[in-house]
């Protein structure tokens, strides 16, 4: 048995080959997320602008971090999903992910089948309740970052 057998190819791949890794010079906001219990850390760079209709969106996002495989895979998967999305869409994604991970209804299987959407691979982390917060950290950090950028 190995990591891939348990957590699946998708999580392993995002952990080993993180997408959108790095810092964005001249970004609108850098938000740090930290879990003092286990030491997981992410730092997310957000570049906001307005689309042709004038509504605000996330033009580009990168991140760096240090932590367990679940936190790092979650950050990588998130970074692929959120590029170019409007603030409203982002809020919807964050809330939907939180609900999937903390809601009581479904229990997902690991390793996840490839459903075409990498994020579904994270849902299986519910099998390890203490690890849910690892998966959530990048998303709560994104939420804080968007709110802080807005408050300015």
């Amino acid at each position: 048995m190995n990591y891939r057998d348990v957590f699946g190819e998708i999580l392993a791949d995002h952990h080993e080959s993180p997408r959108n890794w790095g810092v964005l010079p001249d970004c609108t906001r850098v938000e740090q997320g930290y879990n003092p219990l286990c030491g997981d850390k992410v730092s997310i760079c957000l570049l906001l602008d307005r689309d042709s209709s004038g509504s605000e969106r996330l033009a580009r996002c990168t991140y760096e971090g240090e932590g367990c495989s679940i936190c790092m895979a979650s950050a990588s998967i998130m970074s692929e999903m959120i590029q170019g999305k409007s603030i409203q869409e982002l809020q919807g994604l964050i809330e939907a992910f939180r609900e999937k991970m903390q809601g009581s209804d479904e229990v997902f299987l690991l390793p996840a089948e490839d459903s075409g959407e990498d994020i579904t691979a994270l849902y299986g982390v519910k099998r390890f309740p203490v690890r849910i917060k690892c998966a959530l950290l990048p998303w709560t950090t994104l939420k804080k970052g968007l709110e802080a950028a807005h408050a300015k």
Binding site: N2, V6, A12, L37, C38, D40, C68, S69, I70, R131
Partner: protein
């Protein structure tokens, strides 16, 4: 020694997700023998009343049961008087009591308050903040590469004649036992008041005040030595305790309350404000009885053989870093490990899937972890009811961890 002992702990027979519980997180809290749980429930079912209050018979029975544990603790520690035994909520509470009451009365601007690099937050943060409030100097005794107190740094701090030295008997991260008696002897000559954190030490070896040299305070929790959560002990030298102001104010700790001022009750009640966790104190008494029935020496010998066994195997695992001495002397069966390229949380989840319960995290020792440059480690800690089979399960799982976490080759 332990097939019979294991029967005393019903929880050890649990099967979780199809695997027998292999509990190796004893440094966080030990399991409780049935005798302790029974003593607590018997108290609630048969003897429950508040203590030091009523004149009726039942209250006297409860008070006698409660106070008899004070006597038991006194004998257990080899202390001179029951006036020196204060019941607290735990180690953390005991240390905060001393930092606030003794620290508050004795530390002045420019004084030195000293701790070591291996302290738990409970024996670090109260002193750090005391020093900050009083504009005192806060000094940390550093470690050698072998995880022990660096003798040169001990000398450096000793030369500053600290007012207080707070030191752990046994590290909850590295398993190192400190030479407290010789430290205490040397620091006492420099006029230092010495507090010993025995939270871990009390679980692994006999702790007698007189064997620890001229120390002034000793703190421990019941829950790490087969007792319940919610109660701990502060032992202090009577002459010092007499001089110290109360820590918390309220019922039981007063002798007389006037409209404008109050007088304090005598020791140890001066430091026991409010209704204590009576049932847990009864449970602590039962835990002491339990440990003494099995004998501290036998427990120590058995744990030493587990330590020798695990160390011998762990050092042979390629890629595994042991964050503690490889020398089996003066150390307890507490093993913090790290595997290159594998985060401690992933490692702990993997061990959990193998049926092994260990702790992953910073073990409330940020100052040490920071020095190590590691955000977290995995820690396996044994008790006398753990078996050699469990030790071998751990070793085997750790040996296979690198292949479990092997990355795909590009």
């Amino acid at each position: 020694m332990n097939s019979l002992i294991r029967k005393d702990f019903p929880i050890l027979a649990r099967v979780i997700e199809g695997k027998a519980l292999c509990y190796l997180d004893n440094a966080a809290t030990s399991q409780k023998p049935k005798k302790v749980v029974d003593a607590i429930s018997r108290f609630y079912l048969e003897t429950n009343a508040n203590v030091h209050r009523g004149v009726y018979h039942l209250s006297q029975e409860a008070t006698d049961a409660f106070e008899s544990v004070r006597g038991k603790v006194r004998r257990f520690l080899g202390a001179r008087s029951e006036r020196e035994v204060i019941f607290t909520r735990g180690t953390t509470d005991s240390i905060n009591l001393v930092a606030s009451s003794f620290g508050g009365m004795s530390i002045q601007e420019g004084d030195v308050v000293a701790v070591t690099r291996m302290e738990h937050h409970a024996n670090f943060v109260p002193w750090q903040q005391l020093a900050k409030q009083k504009k005192a100097r806060f000094e940390i005794i550093e470690l050698t590469d072998d995880w022990r107190l660096d003798p040169k740094d001990v000398d450096r701090v000793l030369g500053m004649k600290p007012k207080i030295l707070a030191v752990t008997l046994l590290s909850n991260v590295t398993g190192v036992t400190n030479p407290v008696a010789s430290l205490a002897t040397r620091f006492k000559m420099a006029g230092t008041t010495i507090l010993v954190d025995a939270a871990q030490g009390i679980a692994h070896s006999e702790v007698k005040i007189d064997d620890l040299g001229p120390i002034d305070f000793l703190a421990f929790s019941a829950h790490k030595m087969c007792g319940p959560t919610g109660v701990g002990v502060l032992w202090g030298r009577e002459a010092l305790l007499e001089k110290m102001p109360p820590y918390q104010l309220g019922g039981n700790m007063i002798a007389h309350v006037g409209d404008l001022d109050s007088e304090w009750n005598e020791l140890p009640h001066k430091f026991e404000a409010g209704t204590p966790d009576i049932a847990s104190v009864i449970g602590l008494g039962a835990a002491i009885d339990y440990i003494e029935t099995h004998g501290r020496t036998r427990i120590e010998e058995y744990e030493q053989s587990i330590t020798d066994h695990v160390l011998e195997k762990l050092v042979q695992i390629p890629g595994l870093r042991l964050l503690g001495p490889t020398d089996p002397h003066h150390r307890a069966p507490i093993f913090s490990v790290a595997i290159d390229g594998v985060h401690a949380h992933d490692l702990a989840t993997y061990l959990d899937m193998e049926g092994i319960s260990v702790r992953a995290g910073h073990h409330c020792a940020h100052p040490l972890m920071f020095k190590l440059g590691l955000p977290a480690t995995c820690r396996a800690s044994f008790s006398f009811y753990n078996t050699f089979e469990e030790a071998d399960m751990l070793v085997k799982a750790l040996a296979q961890a690198p292949s479990f976490f092997a990355r795909r080759r590009n």
